[in-house]
């Protein structure tokens, strides 16, 4: 049944001029799962993620979001579908002219929520979910540390309680302790709110602890897609290198 797939991509080709980024990529993701996308730098992971919610159109192929074909949807409908997603950009992309509080409350205000008490409670709840305090709410994005930017951006992505959460390298630039905390936080939130997650990561720990599904992009193709065990069994040189290197051996000791 098509309804089961939150995101489905069929035969995606992406070209920038002569440069082919994706060659026939197909994948689908069911509700409530966490998909990790891995791949070498510059292999089009972020582009693939942007294509999932229609921020960018693939050259060929079809993208279904919540069971609807994005390419034929009207712009207004696309916007409605996109509203049900939350995205965490690599650099945070917080609005630099607004405080953390106003950043998080932004989409609420866009929805014309006039009940300030409701806004402040929702914002504070999201802040506490991502482990920020009330004092941080009044800071400007330029005054935040890297980890706090990620957290504030996550709170902003979560404010509408999205059904699909897209995270572009949520743990990059965080120290191992913070990054582990962040993964724990995501796991907790996912259990609590039950959303579907697509995340891009280079971090093997994140993959192992968090992801139900792993997609490996290499040589412009999707070389492996499935559970972590399936991917570990793949023999493509990139997966071999990525999942069976010395570093990976330590992380996956005791697995497949």
């Amino acid at each position: 049944m098509t309804e089961a797939a939150i995101v489905r991509m069929e035969h995606i080709w992406t070209r920038f001029g002569d440069n082919v980024v994706h060659r026939d990529v197909s994948l689908s993701l069911e509700r409530g799962k966490i998909l990790g996308i891995v791949g070498a730098s510059g292999c089009g992971k972020t582009v693939l993620m942007r294509e999932m919610i229609g921020l960018q159109a693939p050259t060929e192929g079809r993208v279904y979001l919540f069971g609807e074909l994005l390419q034929t949807a009207r712009p207004k409908r696309q916007q409605q579908l996109r509203n049900r997603c939350g995205m965490l950009f690599q650099g945070g992309a917080l609005f630099s002219a607004l405080t953390v509080y106003d950043n998080i409350a932004f989409s609420l205000r866009e929805l014309r929520v006039s009940d300030e008490d409701l806004i402040s409670h929702l914002v504070c709840m999201k802040l506490s979910m991502v482990g920020l305090g009330a004092d941080d709410a009044l800071l400007m994005p330029a005054e935040l540390s890297g980890g706090m930017i990620k957290r504030a951006a996550l709170a902003r992505a979560l404010i509408m309680e999205p059904e699909l959460l897209l995270l572009d390298e949520p743990t990059s630039g965080l120290d191992p302790v913070l990054s582990e905390e962040f993964v724990g936080l995501l796991d907790e939130l996912q259990t609590e709110l039950g959303f579907t997650v697509v995340l891009i990561t280079h971090d093997l720990d994140t993959l192992k602890d968090l992801c139900d599904r792993v997609a490996v992009l290499a040589d412009r193709q999707l070389v492996a897609f499935g559970t972590l065990e399936d991917v570990l069994a793949c023999t493509h040189p990139f997966t071999e290198h990525f999942f069976h290197g010395q570093r990976a051996q330590r992380v996956f000791a005791g697995m497949g």
Binding site: E3, F66, G67, E68, Q80, L81, N83, R84, F95, S96, A97, Y101, L108, L111, R112, V113, S114, D115, D117, L118, S120, H121, L122, V123, C124, M125, L127, S128, M129, G133, A134, A137, M140, P141, A142, M160, E161, E163, E192
Partner: protein, 379 residues
């Protein structure tokens, strides 16, 4: 399972119903942010009125969608606790638990006290003083850099200078020509009526020559360049601050003033006088064409009369003005550019300030020139 394609397009009707026996409140429909966002205040009042009554039983089993926002509305109506008699769906229990159990930090809404007038005035004055101080510092640093470059000619940043001359001068030729030509035509056309009544047609050359070469040419070019290149310089420096490129330069031990500011200032000081010459020529051409059509003054006659009517000192004054305007426009642009805070709003504000300040300053300096050179170059 929620049929999400239907749910998003046609939200189920939200309903608050009191059962016939008056004992149970039955809620149904979707209680999420999207459907509650623009909910009328009556809903809140109704809920709060019902929530105040302890004996009521709350039946939420027909609620199809419930998120934190919906849960908060209800929880608040119940007096920030769960009602004693309640019927929940299993999946909604955790939604309420989020409000019930989580320690949510409260935001102390410290209203900002109004700043008293004397303090505001003092801040205003000290703000202006800070502007002047940093402008003087910038100018001083520029002079020091020039001395440094005189002693170390190898350090002169030729490439940035020539690139900026092209950017601010070469690419402004079109717009200055258009504006200059039109102003020339208009001034000539309007003056010709007055001169005709006196029968002093030939004096059109004096009027055009003197006003354009001494006053209008430099001013027009400077105002156009301030709007065009001054804003670009400010915004460029501002974005460099936002993207931490300025910090990167400092980390490499490269001086901002030598690498970013000096080339801009030098280039504009060179480019603006050249633009002034160009604007003068085009404006005079426009004026001569208009004079030819209106007053029948031949082009050759116009050209021959020009050197007699306008002493060459005026041309020098025009060039000098151009150089000074260029210097000030670039300095002001860099001054405001370096003040930009790393956020988008600040870029907009400071760019506006930069253009306003440089145009104002150009006109002020022009007035100063008019006073200083009041006896020079006038026939």
């Amino acid at each position: 399972m929620v049929e999400f394609s239907i749910e998003a397009s046609a939200p189920p009707v939200r309903e608050v119903r009191v059962s016939p026996d008056g004992q149970t409140v039955v809620l149904s429909g979707s209680w999420n942010l999207r459907s509650l966002g623009a909910a009328p205040p009556e809903l809140r009042r109704r809920l709060e009125a019902l929530g105040g009554e302890q004996r009521l039983e709350w039946d939420l089993r027909d609620v199809e969608v419930l998120d934190s926002a919906g849960a908060f509305l209800l929880w608040r109506a119940w007096g920030r606790r769960l009602p004693e008699k309640r019927q929940f769906r299993q999946e909604h229990v955790s939604t309420f638990a989020r409000w019930e159990t989580r320690q949510i930090p409260s935001l102390d809404d410290a209203a900002r006290p109004a700043v008293p007038l004397p303090l505001r005035a003092q801040r205003f004055v000290s703000g202006i003083a800070a502007h002047l101080l940093s402008l003087v510092t910038l100018l001083g640093q520029f002079v020091l850099d020039v001395f440094h470059l005189l002693r170390h000619p190898g350090d002169v940043p030729w490439r940035p200078i020539s690139a900026t001359i092209h950017e601010t001068g070469g690419r402004a030729l079109g717009i200055t020509a258009l504006v200059g030509f039109l102003i020339g035509v208009v001034v000539s056309y309007l003056s010709s009526f007055q001169l005709q009544t006196f029968g002093a047609q030939i004096y059109i050359v004096n009027i055009l020559g003197l006003s354009i070469i001494r006053e209008l040419g430099p001013l027009l070019a400077a105002i156009l360049v301030a709007g065009r290149s001054g804003s670009a310089m400010t915004a460029r420096l501002g974005v460099m601050r936002v993207t931490q490129e300025l910090d990167a330069l400092s980390a490499m031990g490269i001086s901002h003033s030598l690498r970013l500011i000096l080339p801009k200032v030098v280039a504009l000081t060179i480019a603006l006088p050249l633009l002034v010459v160009w604007t003068d020529v085009i404006a005079l051409t426009g004026g001569a064409m208009s004079a030819h059509l209106e007053l029948n003054i031949g082009y050759q006659q116009f050209l021959q009369k020009l050197p007699q009517a306008v002493p060459v000192t005026n041309f020098a004054i025009g060039l000098g003005k151009g150089a000074v305007f260029g210097l000030f426009i670039a300095l002001i642009a860099c001054h405001f550019g370096l003040r930009i805070q790393p956020n988008t709003e600040s870029i907009g504000n400071e760019t506006t300030n930069s253009v306003v300040a440089s145009i104002t300053l150009v006109i002020l300096v022009d007035a100063v020139f008019a006073i200083l050179f009041r006896g020079v170059g006038l026939p």
